[in-house]
């Protein structure tokens, strides 16, 4: 059985003293694709921000790759982030520099690889996401789907052990969304990554999820296989699936 590489215990988090998440205890296992889902405002993105250290929890415990995140030193955090890739909802590419530079940033900052090898790695990563031709493009010259793929290339620049993706298919057409899901699946296959995906798009969840964690009003309402969730008689889950015509 694979081991848990992300663990939270009684995690509570929020903004300005208001709780968005309360007593979240979850385990995410190596090489699995875990989807965090729930209706808008249930705390999905807040959980993601806490997991990647962009927000400090109000209380509770977070462990990622064997390191406790709540009291981590900045140096140690930066080292840990070498093993973690994050795909932000809007891509979060630096707009003033071409894709090649965007993808090269983690390689230049975290390694001493010579520039000509970095260039090759960048070309490989862009090719893996189907953007080999867009090496010199600026982010503003790309469509929404291409921008997300470019951001994915940057997120996997260092072959991270864990990839967090915030709404990777939000706002994309079904074909592009499906191809991005397939890309995530093939990256898991090729790089052996663990994926944590935040989304509420069920078509996407069906394609990629090994396991789902359903959040409702800041608490974990369900954790397990998608089929078990769909068979469950929890009213909130039934409403969620019925609303998207999946039975």
């Amino acid at each position: 059985m694979s081991k848990a590489i992300i663990t939270t215990k009684r995690l509570s988090a929020g903004y300005n003293g208001n709780y968005v998440l309360e007593d979240i205890s979850i385990e995410i296992f190596e090489h699995e694709i875990t989807v965090i889902l729930g209706v808008s405002g249930c705390g999905k993105t807040t959980l993601l921000k806490n997991l990647i250290g962009l927000m400090k929890p109000i209380r509770g415990y977070i462990e990622i790759l064997g390191r406790e995140m709540t009291n981590i030193e900045e140096d140690e955090y930066n080292k840990l982030m070498k093993n973690i890739g994050v795909l932000f909802q809007g891509g979060a590419l630096l707009n003033s520099i071409p894709l090649s530079h965007n993808v090269a940033i983690p390689l230049e900052q975290h390694t001493d690889i010579p520039p000509h090898l970095i260039d090759r790695i960048v070309r490989l990563k862009l090719s893996l996401v189907g953007l080999g031709h867009a090496y010199d493009y600026l982010p503003s010259q790309l469509s929404g789907g291409m921008r997300k793929r470019a951001a994915l290339a940057r997120a996997i620049a260092l072959d991270p052990a864990i990839l967090f993706a915030d709404e990777p298919t939000a706002g994309l057409d079904p074909v592009t969304a499906s191809s991005l899901d397939n890309l995530l699946l093939s990256l898991r296959e090729q790089l052996g990554m663990t994926l944590v995906i935040v989304t509420h798009e069920l078509s996407s969840i069906r394609r990629v999820a090994d396991k789902i964690i359903y959040l409702d009003k800041g608490r974990v309402l369900f954790s397990g296989k998608l089929q078990s969730a769909m068979d469950s008689d929890i009213p909130e889950l039934q409403n969620f699936f019925t609303a998207q015509n999946i039975t």
Binding site: N95, L117, R120, L126, S127, H133, S140, L191
Partner: protein
Amino acid sequence: MSNQTIQPPETLDSDTITHFYDRVRGILRKSSESSELCIDFSNVEYIDSAGVITLEKLRENAAEQGVEVIFRNISPELEKTIQTFSGKIIKSPEKQAKQHPVEYIGESVFKLWFVFRDFMLLLANISYFGVIAFFRPKLRRKGEVIRQANFIGVTAVPIIVLVNFLIGLILTLQVGLQMRPYGAEIFIAQLITFAMIAELGPLLTAIMVAGRSGSSIAAEIGAMHVSEEIDALRSMGIDPVPYLIIPKLFAILISMPLLAAVATFVGIFGGAVIGFINFQIDFNAFYNEATFALRYYEIMTAFVKSIVFATIIIVVASYYGLHVEGGPEGVGRSTTRSVVVAIFLVIVADSILGLLFYL
């Protein structure tokens, strides 16, 4: 023909490849043609995409020197990873050949012409809607003229007062010191009054407003353009010029002459203060002398200049706001350009008007 064997580290990833790459390159430099270099993977437990890329690159380097690289004892897992990442790079299209200087000059001239044409079209558009919207208030955003006049005019008063007071003070001091040997200090009152009303008051105000409000207007319209708010207005059948720009035009046309008047007054007052302190000219004497220079002609000059400068600032800021390219960083670029171009055009217009009024 000589053969060498090299063992990579246990983990061949982004942390270790540089050392390994340098080591193999060192060996390759010393290798003779038609030799073999064997890379023994028996100790290697993990390889990532950076490791595969390095092996690919080393193979190419070796081939250039006529050295054959052989991989030995590769486990099936490593073989799979190498297969996954080998030969996957898709070449980007060749970059366009460098432009000929004549092409570059031609393109620049055309670009400049297009900028001028679009600028004049916007000016015509603003002028047209400026008149139309005056009689049809529905065309412009409700309450926006007051809000903008407050932002462009009222909130700018403190900085305008401070800057012009200091300019008036220093200018009077320096001119007074030059006049003192001739016993002509009393004339500094006329000089500073004339300088402030006909030139420095409107000009300094315009520069301050271009930097403060012009940049803000360009950034606001630019950000709206980037976030498709302008397109949203157009899609609702609302022309962005009367809706967004005309209230700002009215506000700046009201504010600029008033700000210029304030600037002129405090500049002259600054001169009176230093005249009193340093040149023993009392305020009554200064006032009497100053009124000699205070003619209707100069007041009209200052008013016309303020109106022209205000129009330049609003048209330039709107132009650069509406022509933002390249997302949020483009907003920053356009804002900077709008300030630089507006100040430049204000100075050019000031020179032309100065020549027209006084030549």
